[in-house]
């Protein structure tokens, strides 16, 4: 029982990341009808927002202390981050909480990136064939990836979680099981809750605001909305920005779990596509459900007991599921007839 619970938990944080990226992909696909191969790059950019914020906060003032000498006879360098020197304890806390703080920076940055991307590039590809949309976003993904690589290097850059969330949580005791049975890293739980929060926010935005209503109407029938005198293109630009923010936030919060490197986006992108296909292209709930489902399935497949029976299954299980789903239910779990058939 405990093992099963632990594996489900294990799947939830990865599933959360899949769900967030797949959600953004589906939104873009549903509204603009464009397959965004650069969406993984947006996830990666979000993660590097966290890296950048961390290093900005961490600028250090170096003071030489002539009274103390090191073993080599040179004065000891005392390094204090400027932010600590200026703000004292508050600064220390800022440094400690650099990942959550990055969220505040990442939201406008990603929104801007998304809007520039849509205005500058994607917009001109609405009427082009799908193959060209795929290719141009693929090229963009490579460009973004290489720029990040040239700025931050090719090695993963670890990002610590805040001290308070570094420890383990006795999840079993929290839900009334035997204490010590299910112990789980706190940050991963936070990530799961965070992804639920973001997903909830996106859904309620689309469901309960006028803006969201117009966007949904535009997804269903773009022309009619245009005929009613609504500038649907401008709304869709903002929708693209929101999708970029969702992917970026997924990336920011994922940094303590997986040290970001320049090709993390590509790795997640392929899996997120599979998630979208399994969930059903164009279906937002499908993307979310399939994201968590595949995350959990993957974590079960990487249990040692399972791997003993079928070695290496954890590497391919997601793809196998996708193939089976496609053969049995070509529209995916929640895809509807007539939606994005071509």
């Amino acid at each position: 029982m405990d093992d099963i619970l632990l594996q489900i938990l294990n799947g939830l944080d990865k599933g959360g990341a899949y769900a967030l990226i797949a959600l953004g992909l589906t939104i873009i696909f549903g509204t603009l009808g464009v397959v965004n191969f650069a969406h993984g790059a947006l996830f990666m950019l979000g993660a590097f927002c966290a890296v950048a914020v961390k290093s900005l906060l961490g600028f250090e003032k170096v003071v030489l202390d002539p009274t103390k000498l090191t073993a080599w006879g040179t004065p000891v360098e005392i390094r204090t981050p400027y932010i600590e020197a200026w703000f004292g304890d508050f600064g220390t806390q800022m440094l400690n909480f650099s990942v959550p703080v990055s969220i505040i920076i990442a939201i406008p940055v990603m929104l801007l990136v998304g809007i520039i991307m849509e205005r500058g590039l994607i917009r001109h590809f609405y009427k082009r064939p799908h193959a060209e949309q795929i290719l141009v976003t693929f090229g963009l993904a490579i460009v973004l990836q290489e720029i990040v690589k040239s700025q931050f290097g090719a090695n993963p850059i670890p990002q610590p979680a805040p001290e308070i969330a570094k420890g383990m949580v006795d999840f079993g005791a929290m839900i009334g099981l035997q204490a010590g049975g299910v112990v789980y890293p706190a940050w991963r739980l936070i990530y799961f809750l965070f992804s639920l929060l973001v997903i909830g926010a996106v859904f309620s935005f689309l469901q309960f605001t006028t803006f969201g209503m117009v966007v949904r109407a535009g997804m269903a029938d773009r022309e009619t909305v245009g005929l009613l005198g609504i500038d649907i293109d401008r709304r869709f630009t903002i929708v693209f920005g929101i999708a970029a923010v969702v992917a970026g936030l997924a990336g920011v919060m994922y940094t303590p779990i997986l040290s970001p490197d320049y090709h993390m986006g590509m790795d997640f992108l392929v899996l997120s596509f599979v998630v979208v296909v399994v969930g059903g292209m164009g279906s937002l709930p499908g993307a979310v459900v399939a994201g968590f489902l595949l995350g959990i399935v993957q974590s079960f497949a990487s249990m040692n007991e399972v791997k003993a029976i079928i070695p290496g299954i954890d590497q391919i299980i997601i793809y196998l599921i996708a193939v089976v789903i496609l053969l049995v239910r070509p529209r995916g779990l929640m895809g509807r007839k007539g939606v994005m058939e071509q």
């Binding site: 397959v35 064939p129 290719l135 141009v136 490579i142 040239s150 590509m266 299954i313 590497q315 996708a322």
Partner: protein, 389 residues
Amino acid sequence: MGRNTTPKQDWMLLIGFSVVLLAAPFLLTPVGAGYPDLLQKFAIFGIFALGFNILFGLTGYLSFGHAAFLGVGSYAAVWTFKLFSMNPILALIVATVIGGLFSVIIGFVSLRRSGIYFSILTLALAQMSYNMAYSVATPITNGETGLQLAQSDPRILDVAFGRDYGAVLPSSDLFGIHMNGYPGFYFCAVIFIACFFLSMRIFRSPFGMMLRAVKSNQNRMSYTGLNVRPYTLAAFVISGMYAGLAGGLMAVTDPLAGAERMQWTASGEVVLMTILGGAGTLLGPVIGAGVIKYFENIFSAFNEGVLTQLFDFLPAFLQHAMVSVSSLFVGEGWHLTLGALFMVIVIFLPGGLMEGFNRIRSLVARLLRRDTEEPEKPDPIERVPEPAE
């Protein structure tokens, strides 16, 4: 590429292509590409792109997983070397067949959907193969180390024919001719010409016409009572076999195989080659493959020292700026150039270089005509009376 070329023109094209290819070592020496390693790459990736073009150029199905077949072909060829014989012909046959079989499986699954779904499926399946090469299939692929020849390999056929490689690591040879350097290139070139011929025959055949029909309007084709799937599957398998053959050739010229050949960036590269040259044209992919491999070679060799020399004529501050900007794009940053090139081509020239040539040609033709003669007065439109029913 005109659609209605005569057989004679086709033969001329083939002969011209063969002559240029066979003379490539001499022709390309002035631009610094006249050495066998690079020429072999031209030929191998040319074959790969030719095959990819049969699928993408004719049917419009954009596969993002073709590198998987390349990798499988390499593995198959190296295994043939290990188990049977160092003769490249046998290895190539095995590589092509295995590449074909593999593409039957992947094609059967992914061709159930079209459009974006198809691209995503091929991408996912290729990525699955790549992951498998590192995990489940390590007994076959030797994981991260890559599959290599060993002195102790059985090589049944070689032993049966009494060939002994002694104490050195064997290299592939065609009845005594070693497959590296120029002999290797000419071996690749002959196969390349054969592949080009085959591709040309497919383009001109009724089968090729069917594939073009799939691209232009699949629905209409289904309505006329044709089942599209066998045609697309056939195109997929043919291009998979081309890729397998190309992978086999890679192993022939350098007998080792690694999983990184199957990564999806490699699939993206062949897409770029085809697009850059011009998808759906006969020569385009070949030119695209050549251009990309050539510039990869040049750009990767650049470094800051070379750049500083290059911009020596500029004032110091400009020189510094130019060097620091352009050094992003060369050496390690070659992929950045590749990505940017990708975008530029798709945005401005979706028909590829071939379209560019054609545009320039028609532009020049128009200019020339204007120079020589004043534009004639337009003829009064002749009204052909409708034939009475």
